[in-house]
């Protein structure tokens, strides 16, 4: 059944080049968007013999596949025609009720109107600049910050300003100083928000102290800026006392938090949510209608039933026990195999998925990356986590994905690579 379609070549394939001048037609956004250099670099490491600490991935061994399968069957049997239909942009009522209960355990008080269900929290990172950023507007970020946020904010022409950040999180005084400088330059109207990953940060693994949280909230509120609390790892705490969430500490309704089930359940259901001031949630809901109409009702009902059935309490401790074990193996192996170099250090996170390594200042992590891949081990360069490519002597290690014996072996390879690299650089 071919209709006037005479172009297929000998292989039946559409081999011609596009006759449009796409570069001319593209928007400023599309012209500026480049393939992630990191992704291209990591293709070098995409070989079975390479042990990769690069992906920010949960461990699929932990996925409660049978439970999800049973819930799928139950939901489809009970509510199949409803959950396979279009849902509402704001999300399913039943899921919101469960989210309210879930967040209450963490000191967060919210109502249904404070919640917008998202198709993964990356969708929130795309919608926030859509809602707040005109080209050139300013968003203050931690140093380092999440690569996916950099990409999403970049697409709206955001000026991302890195603020001094140490082992206690973003420095409120440094934020104050940076805001003051922008205001002195007459750019007050350009300042929009402060973007934070306060718990087991991606990529650093650092958790912001309560004092710093209060400090940053106070500075942001005083200057009328929205605070974005990106919290995908918050429930992945292995030890130590939880620090109150930014959302719970906030007294000015100036925080929007992004949560997801991608790390505490599975990424494949694509269920996440935002909680924030109802006027803002209302605005984002209107925007979501034209972004993807709605998130899958089926996925939302499966997650709601998972929560209602107490599965989170049953499975999440297994996630945390496994990740804690893997973190310990990685840290032990790092202590054992990484050479003792002046200035070499790494974080010791109390949860999450990542360890952040800082090399001696003049060492180039990209060169080390190539040496590491020759030893069949991979990581992500620190420069991916800086809006203008700084942090060239840093890199991120993920400890959640690889199996324990692979973590041990991978770190020993990394130790060999770094030892050789340090000798050659000396």
């Amino acid at each position: 059944m071919k209709h006037g379609c005479d172009f297929p070549g000998p292989q039946g394939a559409r081999k011609e080049e596009c006759m449009l001048d796409l570069e001319k037609l593209y928007s400023t956004t599309a012209r500026a968007t480049r393939k992630s250099a990191i992704r291209e670099l990591l293709k070098l490491a995409d070989k079975p013999e390479v042990i990769s600490f690069a992906g920010g991935w949960p461990s699929p061994d932990l996925f409660p596949v049978d439970t999800i399968s049973d819930l799928m069957v139950k939901v489809l049997k009970e509510r199949g025609r409803k959950v396979l239909h279009y849902s509402k942009a704001e999300g399913e009522v039943g899921l919101k009720e469960e989210l309210i209960r879930l967040m209450a355990k963490d000191g967060v008080t919210a109502e249904a109107e404070n919640i917008l269900v998202l198709t993964g929290s990356q969708q929130g990172l795309d919608m926030l600049p859509k809602a707040f950023v005109d080209r050139g507007d300013v968003v203050f970020v931690e140093t380092p910050t999440y690569v996916g946020a950099i990409q999403a904010f970049d697409n709206y022409g955001t000026h991302m300003v890195p603020v001094e950040t140490d082992d206690n999180g973003m420095d409120a005084a440094a934020l104050e100083k940076s805001i003051a400088e922008w205001k002195q330059r007459g750019q007050a109207d350009r300042l929009k928000m402060v973007y934070l990953i306060p718990d087991f940060q991606n990529p650093s693994g650092i958790t912001m102290t309560e004092e710093r949280r209060r400090g940053v909230l106070e500075v942001a509120a005083r200057h009328g800026l929205l605070v974005v609390d990106d919290a995908p790892y918050r429930d992945l705490r292995f030890e130590g006392e939880p620090v109150p969430s930014l959302y719970a500490l906030d007294k000015k309704q100036s925080v929007i938090s992004l949560y997801t089930f991608s790390k505490t359940l599975v990424p494949g259901l694509r269920v996440a949510w935002a909680v924030g001031p109802r006027q803002l949630i209302d605005k984002l809901t209107t925007l979501k209608q034209s972004v993807d109409l709605c998130s899958s009702a089926l996925s939302q009902h499966v997650v709601a039933d998972y929560l209602a059935g107490g599965c989170m309490e049953r499975y999440l401790p297994m996630f945390n026990a496994d990740y804690r074990h893997k973190r310990d193996i990685m840290l032990d192996a790092m202590d054992k195999y990484l050479p003792k170099l002046e200035g070499l250090k790494w974080t010791r996170p109390e949860g999450g998925l990542f360890i952040w390594v800082t090399l001696p200042e003049k060492m180039d992590a990209e060169k080390l990356f190539h040496a590491a891949v020759r030893e069949n081990v991979a990581f992500v360069l620190g420069s991916a986590f800086h809006p203008s490519g700084g942090l060239k002597n840093c890199f991120r290690l993920n400890f959640s994905f690889a199996a324990p014996d692979r973590i041990h072996e991978g770190v020993s390879r990394l130790g060999r690579a770094l030892t050789k690299f340090a000798q050659e650089s000396a």
Copy 2:
């Protein structure tokens, strides 16, 4: 477990107003975004006694719920840890292979690199202006055009230019004339694309003739414009010969087509796809990474297995038989119950979900809407389908969602409302 969280009021709820000046912080996009007047209006009709012809919805009675449930179980059993993990931004290889086979039956030749899987085709309507539109850029559209496209394009500040469209589709000569006018005004660089829904158009139900398709393709290619072929209803043909798709007719690789399973299977899996020039698909894939990372691998595998198992051939004819029956009931009832008014006319689509009604020129469809709701029947105003709110004497009827007896009854109510309304207006 509450941490320094002292604000909950007596009901434990977060009742305070947001202290931020959100209107000041919002982007140009967010400030311009208003709640859809149509959605607000339709809330008036959200009562059980109202028969609604408003939603653009498939009939949930047709959903192959058991088949989907069985496929979910099978996919989760065989590939659970893979499909519940993150997928690739471009989509799952297995689904792409099935899509290539599916499209080949319609004369479309494509390779994997021509395809980007989408989380619903609305995502494509959000990503296309992201990729091509700077504020003020021009997109030519049919009159009427799809409301969801208007909203998505509006969010990027698109100047949508309605082109004269009749029962044969967009008029290529009128497009040529409009392009020439913009070029004369020195706006050549502003012209980006032509957006079409050539098959059983939403909202008009009209199918573009082959001659018009060739004509518009020729004009667009000559002026270097991208053609967007939004084709959600293409496979919902009840009768008559298929017209070759724009993608199949295109010889210049200047067409991108959007397809979806929301109308031919179920909306709830949120699986759709774009097919187009590989350079463009590559660019959109990069953008999709920051929009939502990836579409659900689980949904993609279920759809792939559905296609591989021949389920589309089994179930789609049932969809079309049902919708044909409902269309006939609606058209018969319209012939019977709508008053004979000078200038009153409606389309008789060969497929799809919609009938488009044009009232006598001076009649206001919004006033009729209120009269209709008093008779407990609802529709969508024509003005929703025009970028600047024209077509005030038109409205859209959906025939796929309501049950046959409700369609008959609803049209008789509409007849009463219109008869009274015409008498009062006379």
